[in-house]
Each structure stands twice: as C-alpha cells, then as structure tokens.
Symmetry: none
DNA sequence: GAAATATGAATGAACG
DNA sequence: CGTTCATTCATATTTC
C-alpha cells in the first residue's frame, strides 16, 4: 500500500553530538553567528554527521525565535491568561483549526481557497476569489496584457525620465499601503 | 533595537496564480521592476487576490536576495545533504524507519559538563543516521575548540577548510507549481 | 495508530 | 540591497 518513491525530502535531524555542539555555541551568547561562523560551525559539525550551512543557519534562527517565544508563554506567569479576542496566538493548536492548513506538498500549489486576511470580517462579505479556485494553467489567466509590458525589458524608458520616479526608498517601511 | 515595528500581523500569502505571475515576471529578466511596473503588477495581481504594492516590492526584493545568496554561498548553503539514510526507499510510510529513536531528553540537550564520552548516543541501534559512517578528520575536530572561535569575533578564519561552495546550488524551495 | 508536540525549513516583512 | 526577524508550514518524534 504504499507508494513508491515520492521524493520525500526528509528534513535534517541533528545528531545528539551536533545538537550538543550547537547548544554550546548558542549558549556562548554569540548571538547570531555570521555567515563565516556558520561555515565554520558547519564544517565542524559535518564531522559528526551530514549537515549544511543552511541547516546550521536555520537551527540558529529557530533557536533564537523559539527562545523568545518561550518566554512569553504562560511559563511562570500568573494564571488567568484570558484571550479576549479569537485572535489567540495559535501556537500548539496547529490543526485544531477548522480550516485545513495541512495541504499535501504536492497540492501545495493548489489554491487553498482564500487564506488571505480579509479585513472585511463580520459582515461575512468574504469574497472567495473564484479566480484562485481555478486551476492555473501554464498560460495563466488571460488578461495579462500587463505581462506583455513586463516581458519587454526595453520598456524601462517608460517612466524613468520623469524625474519623479525616485527610488524605492519610500517603500521601505511605509504604512500608507493600508494593508 | 528598540521598538521593533512588527505591526505586520497578517502576512500576505501569494496565491498560486499570483505566484506564477510573479515568477514569470521575475524570470523575464526585468530585474527590479520600476515603481510603475510594481503598480501595474500589483493591479494585475489584485485580480487574483488581495495584494499591495508593498507586497510585490518585497517579493521581488526577497526573490532577488535569495537568488544572489545561492551563488555567493552565503548562508544559502551549498550542499543539500539529507540524512545519510535518505537513499531512495523513502516512502510516505512513516514506518519506513521502523524503530523510534529513543533518546531521552537528558541526552538531547546533554548538559555536557566535562564528559566527553558520548556513548549515550549508543542508542543508535535505532538511530537513523550512523555517525560512524562519516569519516573522521585526522585532526579530530574538537567540538570545544570551535567555541573558542566563536568567542572571538575577530577570528573567523580558523579551520580554513571551507572551500566547497562554489557552484550554483539551489537550496531553496522546490516549487512544484506550474506542473 | 492517531493525536499532540517538537523542530527543521520556507518565506514574507522589517531593519540598517 | 543585504541581512535578520517573525510567522507559518511540514515532517519527525513522542505520547496516549
């Protein structure tokens, strides 16, 4: 009953030794190791098992994030952690949600309905975009005339001369987009 | 390092269609689209789901940065090494590995102390990744000595064995869309 | 064996 | 623009 090779990419699992080393390094308080450090560490850890820079990097990132997160939970704090809104920090209640968050990786590309955060709530005016539900054919939608412009690299001289098209600097952390 | 503005509560998730379009545009070699282009793209993509200029801009930036990271061998890692066990018989059945790695938490974090003999990992009778498979370097890398390096921000060049990542490697996502 | 949990991996958003 | 943070997702592992 099983299939055959499904290209199951198993995620890297640190060996105890690797974990020990990683923990130790993390405990050094070095914070986030630089890329160079990452390489060193990777090199070191590769002696104890297969590992890559990305693995090490991810590990540190996760470790950091996890530490931060842990502190905020109801660790030693007083009881009564009432959540007013249904917002709740979904943390461990992964699939407790009614919605199906777990989509097979094969189908991950498929439209999962609409998980976009719609500001329109309460009025039930959630407009499930039918377009998303449609299968995306290689030709994409249709009215992509826009693409025609974009596919033209020479089309840059369109607005570049206006003098007003400054850099994207203002794009950095603006809140004007009212998202 | 003060008030981190993480007011971004809801994270925009591109729909498959949007992703396709974005990928397409990015692949056109347009590089970083102008502001005008961004607007056009946003407009087009908004037909397939909620999106903003900022989202589009971020996406392109991230995409670009990611691409560059790969060739530079930054954190982008180099070799995607899975577990040595990851041969080909990997099936969707979780039972494939048969044998649970029963490593007590005591060993998982392994407070170390001063003990060097990590025989504890001997539980590898079911360990999915035999570490002995890896060839030990003649210099017998010391886990601890690496820490010294990390403590020294100035000394990044210690092992000097990192001469591996040169070629292009795709570590990142393996988008299956567009199939 | 399924659920719950832990954690590695992917990615959007922010910072400098 | 490169790097880092924060959040989510997927899968391994542990528990019931």
């Amino acid at each position: 009953t099983l299939g055959h090779k499904m290209t199951a990419r198993q995620r890297w699992t640190p060996t105890p030794v690797q974990l020990q080393i990683l923990e130790r390094i993390f405990d050094q308080g070095t914070g986030t190791p630089s890329k160079q450090k990452i390489k060193d560490i990777t090199e070191e850890l590769s002696q104890h098992g297969q590992i890559s820079d990305q693995n090490v990097y991810n590990w540190f990132q996760n470790r950091r994030a996890r530490s931060k997160r842990k502190q905020h939970g109801g660790v030693g704090s007083s009881n009564n952690n009432n959540n007013n809104n249904g917002e709740s920090e979904v943390e461990t209640e992964t699939e407790t949600l009614n919605g199906k968050r777990k989509i097979p990786e094969s189908l991950r590309v498929l439209p999962d309905g609409n998980n976009n955060s719609n500001n329109a709530i309460g009025t039930a005016s959630t407009s499930p975009r039918p377009e998303d539900l449609c299968f995306q054919s290689p030709e994409m939608s249709s009215d992509l005339h826009l693409l025609g412009v974009l596919s033209n690299p020479r089309d840059d001289h369109l607005v570049g001369k206006m003098g007003l098209s400054d850099s994207y600097n203002l794009y950095d952390h603006v809140e004007d987009y009212g998202m």
